[in-house]
């Protein structure tokens, strides 16, 4: 899929995301337990782990939804993620796709993208803002990319599940983040769509950093370069797919008790 991406190249060297010793507990239950993780610029990282391993919670911490009890979370050069609000984190360049597709059901597809699109997002300016033709073109390009070019005026709530998934990915792209967090992006997609998604992610890698959480191992294998395995809130293995697959602890976690 070599469509013109509506995204600028974000060249950056070194580490984009740096998590160190993060712990989160809910009523005494440790959802994350001393978790450390580093994502390099341009990297595509897959995170796997059984249900309840803490994958979504990790994303919550990165995006500011959940505050960690302990540990540091840094983004880019200096941004301390534990102090910024959700909106500030998003503006700093972290985009997130939820596990459950969340789009703005009452708005049209076009409007969904318009809202997500990178722009001045303060209340005052949105009151007066008008779409420039260049912004129009960028939305059009995104629409083409996600295959909804002809459905721009459709109400998003009426889209099929797969279309909603794509719309959400489109919104993420329109946001032009440096780091994309994708929570189970292909759940509910057909094989063909899954393939397209894989292509898209691979084409984004390099210019963007991606963290993909998925249960679909086939999908992981097609895109994986480096894989992190979470279990009970901590990293139990990290490395390329082969190495991880043969790690005895991973096998134990996935196969037996």
């Amino acid at each position: 899929m070599k469509a013109a991406l509506p995204i600028e190249v974000t060249a950056g060297q070194g580490t984009v995301l740096y998590l160190d010793g993060i712990s989160v507990s809910f009523d005494g239950f440790k959802a994350l337990n001393n978790l450390s993780l580093m994502i390099d610029a341009g990297e595509l990282r897959c995170v796997i782990g059984p249900n309840g391993a803490g994958k979504t919670t990790m994303m919550d911490v990165i995006t500011g939804k959940t505050r960690p009890d302990e540990g540091r979370a840094l983004f880019g050069e200096a941004a301390d993620l534990t102090r910024l609000s959700e909106a500030e984190i998003a503006q700093a360049g972290i985009g997130r796709k939820f596990q459950k597709p969340t789009i703005f059901e009452a708005l049209s597809v076009f409007e969904n993208l318009e809202l997500a699109m990178k722009a001045d997002k303060r209340a005052r300016t949105t009151l007066l803002s008008k779409l420039s033709s260049e912004q129009h073109d960028r939305i059009a390009a995104t629409l083409t990319l996600i295959g909804l070019r002809n459905g721009a005026d459709r109400i998003a709530g009426l889209l099929s599940h797969g279309e909603k998934q794509w719309l959400e990915i489109g919104m993420l792209l329109a946001q032009e983040p440096k780091l994309l967090l994708l929570d189970e992006p292909v759940a509910g997609m057909s094989d063909h769509e899954t393939e397209r998604t894989a292509e898209l992610f691979l084409s984004l890698a390099g210019t963007h950093s991606l963290v993909v959480v998925e249960h679909d191992m086939a999908f992981i294998e097609t895109i994986a370069r480096k894989v992190t395995v979470l279990h009970e809130g901590r990293v139990i293995a990290e490395g390329d797919m082969n190495k991880v697959k043969n790690d005895p602890r991973v096998i134990e976690v996935y196969l037996g008790r």
């Binding site: 708005l107 409007e111 809202l115 997002k121 949105t126 009151l127 007066l128 005026d153």
Partner: protein
């Protein structure tokens, strides 16, 4: 009002085509036509039929109707205000009766001072203060004899209260039913406060027996008509302003907040600013509506702040159709028209009717009358 025929116009952002000019963004031809007709009725037909046509004529519109329609237009402004926060941003405030009453009280203070020495006790102070044996005006009444100051208070008091309250509530992410409950508690607390004589707002009885506004006799037909026209003007202004807001990107962010607030935040919008802005704006609109209401009906008292009133406001919006501005006006008109009819014809059945409206609208007409009309 001719809100019945009002149309929502074309969808503003028209797919991949460029957006229309501001004028056509607000309404299409039909919509503007309807507004024009409404304005014509309010600014020409009513004044002529009320003031120039003699009372003996069949065409004459009596003071009763002028007051009733004027009152309903005030309610319609409230409905628009509530629709902005509830219909668009999904925040059900049960405190709008409070903002309305505060605007009313701010205007009422000025009207009380305008009575001058014509009260029952013929004193400089308002009657209720003489009755309480007060010797001088309390601090919060200073400058209340100035109209400009009353106008400032009408905007400022509800605005500041809503801003401060909203700031704390939205900052700590109070939402949904929680928000409704605490706004209701706020209204309730304010009502108790205003019921006290010592608060200095006339206790139970509130303010009434007004004589003049800006020096004009408040009962004179010309004054009433002037108030009517100003109210209509405010209503149309509010309507257009609200339409401008909801067709802007700001309005779309509000709708997005209603549907998926977390997503909006992760898109990089500070949702609190949006909610706070629209809540405060809405409160100010209510204050203005209250200020227009009081001189027309001639009374304001704490029962205006009772939780029941605020909930009733929500039903105006629900009846008309949440998230459509014309619906809000329509709903305010329908419910209050029915109320005026019932309380005269079958007073004991009004609560049954109102209760039934609440139940039926939520069960069977989630999109209100506008939803039915659109189908």
């Amino acid at each position: 009002m001719s809100a019945l025929t009002l149309n929502q116009g074309q969808t503003p952002v028209n797919g991949l085509n460029r957006g229309p000019s501001l004028f056509w963004r607000l309404y299409g031809v039909k919509g503007w036509l309807a507004i024009g007709i409404g304005a014509l009725i309010a600014f020409v037909v009513f004044p002529v039929l009320n003031l120039l046509v003699p009372p003996t004529s069949a065409l004459h519109i009596s003071a009763f109707w002028v007051t009733l329609i004027g009152k309903i237009m005030c309610y319609a402004i409230v409905a628009l205000a509530l629709d902005l926060v509830w219909g668009y941003a999904g925040i059900l405030s049960l405190g709008h009766g409070l903002f309305f009453a505060l605007g009313g009280y701010a205007m009422g203070m000025y009207l009380m001072r305008q009575i001058g020495r014509e009260g029952q006790y013929q004193a400089d102070l308002p009657d209720f203060m003489v009755f309480l044996d007060w010797k001088e005006l309390p601090w919060h009444w200073s400058m209340s004899d100035q109209f400009w100051w009353a106008a400032v208070l009408v905007v400022l008091v509800p605005g500041v209260l809503a801003f401060v309250f909203g700031y704390f509530a939205f900052r700590s992410r109070v939402k949904g039913v929680y928000f409704s409950i605490i706004t209701q508690a706020l209204t309730f607390a304010a009502m108790l406060l205003f019921f006290r004589n010592n608060t200095g707002f006339g206790g139970n009885n509130g303010f009434t027996d007004f004589k003049r506004i800006l020096g004009f006799s408040i009962t004179a037909p010309e004054t009433r008509m002037a108030l009517f026209v100003i109210t209509a003007l405010t209503l149309i202004g509010t309507f257009l302003a609200a339409r401008w807001i909801v067709t802007s990107k700001f309005g779309r962010v509000l709708e997005a907040i209603r549907d998926a607030e977390a997503r909006v935040m992760f898109c990089g919008y500070n949702t609190m600013h949006f909610k706070l802005a629209i809540f405060t704006f809405s409160a100010v609109l209510c204050g203005i509506a209250g200020a227009l209401y009081v001189p027309q009906v001639g009374i304001i008292n704490p029962s205006e702040m009772s939780p029941a009133n605020s909930i009733e406001m929500a039903i105006w919006v629900a009846v008309g159709g949440r998230g459509t501005l014309a619906g809000a006006i329509l709903g305010a008109g329908l419910v209050n028209g029915a109320k005026s009819f019932f309380t005269v014809a079958f007073p004991e059945y009004w609560l049954f009717a109102l209760g039934a409206i609440f139940i039926c609208v939520t069960l069977f007409m989630p999109r209100g009358v506008m939803g039915l009309l659109k189908r």
